[in-house]
């Protein structure tokens, strides 16, 4: 059952951090849509702006950084235009987030149970209007029961014993489950996951990913997963967006990306993974370095490292081309358009399929 409007519709999102020189463009004209219950993976290297993108969606970017322009339509409502109060009611309730390093994300001074309960309390999930503290014993009891339920759902063993534990007493995997519990407490429609498994062992990684899959299937929660591991994304996600230097350079379904990668960067990423069975092949990394986000080149940001580069690549900002339905690619050379003899930068603007 798909609803008519997408869950999330992001258009031309730009987030910048002012600095002494030119501003740092962490998120640069990013657009994508996400439907209910879908899993989108955002893949890219460290520092390419992925985390900033997620934080932008929740309007959590710290001053002096800010969202400069664009639209973030959540079920039709533009999140950038609503008031602070309304935005706060969305955070944690409709859209939740989990982070990379669970130990530093959990407050060391409060118990695990308390931190999960906090989510419930903030959004009044249990029992709308009751007496304020300290007369709310009944409500606290009910909230606690719900927390125990959630803890069990995310796979924390012996929840009743663990309720009063502190984060540092948990293992990495359990801490991450706690974070997930906090995020899911109010049953959000969208879960943002910023590299949730990077800090964990491989076996625990698999467990957490399975947990997230389970959540997606049982509750229909849409997920945006950030990772630098293309393999992980291909296993877990429905669609993938590849991010480079603040821009999406390729978007499509998992099959599109993995079987028919079009952007040279995506191809490079797929190439440089060591494969089981190919022992004598040298690993082929992508030469060069990511350009600084404050000093982006005028043309294609990947030009200096691209094996297909031509002069035309450096002349102007490259738009996204839809080479197949649903498969977008920000490369002139590997898309069809460069074969059109009448093609110029002006014609680009008029193209229908360009985003």
């Amino acid at each position: 059952m798909a609803s008519s409007i997408p869950l999330l519709d992001v258009r031309d999102l730009n987030s910048v951090f002012p600095s002494k020189g030119r501003p740092v463009r962490a998120v640069n004209q990013v657009s994508f849509t996400l439907n209910e219950g879908e899993i989108l993976g955002i893949v890219g290297e460290s520092g390419c702006g992925k985390s900033t993108l997620l934080l932008s969606l929740l309007r959590l970017i710290r001053y002096p950084g800010k969202v400069e322009s664009g639209e973030i339509r959540f079920r039709g409502k533009d999140l950038l235009k609503i008031g602070d109060h309304e935005m706060r009611s969305m955070r944690g309730k409709e859209i939740s987030m989990i982070f990379q390093d669970p130990l530093s994300t959990l407050n060391p001074a409060f118990t695990v149970g308390e931190q999960i309960r906090e989510s419930l309390r903030l959004h009044n999930v249990i029992n709308g209007n009751t007496l304020p503290w300290p007369f709310d014993g009944l409500r606290r009891e009910r909230e606690k029961k719900r927390v125990l339920q959630i803890m069990e759902e995310v796979g924390i063993p012996s929840p009743t014993d663990r309720y009063a534990s502190y984060p540092h007493q948990f293992s990495g995997g359990m801490q991450q489950r706690t974070l997930i519990a906090i995020a899911l407490a109010c049953n959000p429609a969208l879960l943002l996951a910023d590299e949730p498994t990077t800090a964990l062992d491989v076996t625990i990684q698999a467990q957490i990913i399975n947990l997230m899959k389970q959540i997606n299937q049982e509750r229909g929660t849409a997920i945006i997963l950030i990772t630098h591991d293309l393999g992980l994304a291909s296993e877990f996600c429905d669609r993938i967006a590849v991010m480079y230097a603040g821009r999406f350079v390729e978007q499509g379904t998992v099959d599109d990306i993995v079987e028919n990668p079009q952007h040279p960067y995506t191809q490079g990423l797929l190439d440089c993974r060591p494969r089981i069975g190919e022992r004598d092949q040298a690993i082929r990394p992508i030469p060069g370095n990511v350009p600084s986000l404050a000093n982006l080149p005028h043309g294609c940001a990947f030009a200096s490292r691209c094996p297909h580069v031509r002069d035309i690549c450096e002349q102007g900002p490259i738009p996204m081309f839809e080479t197949e339905p649903g498969h977008l690619n920000r490369c002139l050379i590997t898309s069809d358009f460069q074969r059109d003899p009448d093609w110029t930068w002006d014609t680009v603007v008029d193209q229908e399929h360009v985003t």
């Binding site: 706060r88 969305m90 955070r91 944690g92 407050n107 060391p108 001074a109 989510s119």
Partner: protein
């Protein structure tokens, strides 16, 4: 503590000058037999380690010796003056916390605002000023020029204060003496500010820096992502963690309070332990010095103990 006692003892005993001779210098003629008897009583003829033993034994029983100069037992002298010092220290502590806590928090939350810069500059000034100078300046300004606040002493003469506990503020409340209450409070203002200022400065700075660190941490971002209002995030999450290093510093500051109070009491004519000690030093009244220094050290150790306990309470990682 034990070691403390030993050090104190040896220091005192190492001074030149037979204490009994000094006493003689105060009183007038005392017969030779009397002298010997006194020496006997104060164990001065015994070797040093025996003297130490007597001292410790008496101290454990609450008897800190006898002041030659003032002709009273040290313990009662201390008991007389102690409430005054405690009132002053308390006043200073309250003042410094009242100022430092809000300033530290707000400066961190509104980093680099004019308020932040102003507070940090003032804090900087606060740690660069000698206490006695600040006191004198305040006296000049508020007492001499503006006549708002009294210059010296704890309470105005003629207020008819009856002492019950020795804590003037408390006593005036207990006896229902409004005039005395206002008077004693007014007298408390300037000394408390002078003593508390450097302490407040240090606490404010530490609090600010730990708050800044807390506000930058991941768990604060998480709290915000849960939909928590900013004020609440600051108070519940950030502050709780920022308090941990701050509390340790507060404990150390108690030491400064104790030390500074000698100077401040002198400046303001505050009849407390500090002033007594200073006078005792000039009078070479060793038992008194000994006893008071012991009390000071004891208080300091106690305060640090409390801080340690508080610390383990605040920081769950240590509880294990």
């Amino acid at each position: 503590m034990f070691g403390v006692a030993i050090i104190v003892f040896f220091f005192i005993r190492l001074t030149p000058g037979d204490p009994v001779d000094i006493m003689m210098g105060q009183g007038g003629a005392i017969s030779a037999g009397e002298l010997d008897r006194l020496r006997e009583e104060f164990h001065l003829n015994e070797p040093l380690h025996i003297q130490l033993w007597y001292f410790l034994r008496d101290a454990a029983r609450g008897d800190l010796g006898y002041s030659y100069v003032l002709k009273q037992p040290v313990t009662s002298l201390i008991a007389e003056r102690l409430p005054a010092t405690i009132e002053l220290a308390g006043g200073a502590l309250i003042f410094s916390l009242l100022v430092a806590l809000p300033v530290g928090i707000i400066s961190a939350v509104r980093q680099n605002s004019w308020l932040d810069r102003l507070s940090m500059s003032s804090a900087f000034l606060g740690i660069s000023m000698p206490g006695f100078w600040l006191g004198i300046i305040l006296i000049l300004l508020f007492s001499v020029r503006l006549h708002w606040l009294p210059v010296q002493g704890r309470v105005a003469l003629g207020s008819g204060l009856q002492e019950r506990t020795g804590f003037f503020v408390l006593d005036s409340i207990l006896t229902g003496n409004m005039a005395a209450l206002t008077s004693s409070l007014l007298h408390l203002v300037l000394p408390s500010i002078t003593l508390g200022a450097p302490v407040a400065a240090v606490i404010a700075r530490v609090l600010r820096s730990s708050m800044l660190e807390a506000l930058r941490s991941d768990y604060v971002t998480l709290a915000r992502s849960k939909g928590m209002a900013e004020t609440w995030v600051v108070v519940k999450h950030a502050l709780r963690n920022a308090m941990i290093p701050t509390v340790t510093v507060v404990g150390l500051q108690v030491g400064i309070l104790l030390g500074g109070n000698m100077v401040i009491e002198t400046v303001f004519g505050w009849p407390g332990l500090g002033r007594m000690v200073v006078k005792a030093i000039f009078d070479r009244d060793f038992p008194l010095i000994q006893g008071t220094v012991m009390i000071y050290a004891f208080t300091f150790v106690m305060a640090n103990l409390i801080v340690d306990v508080l610390y383990t309470y605040l920081n769950p990682r240590i509880k294990m």
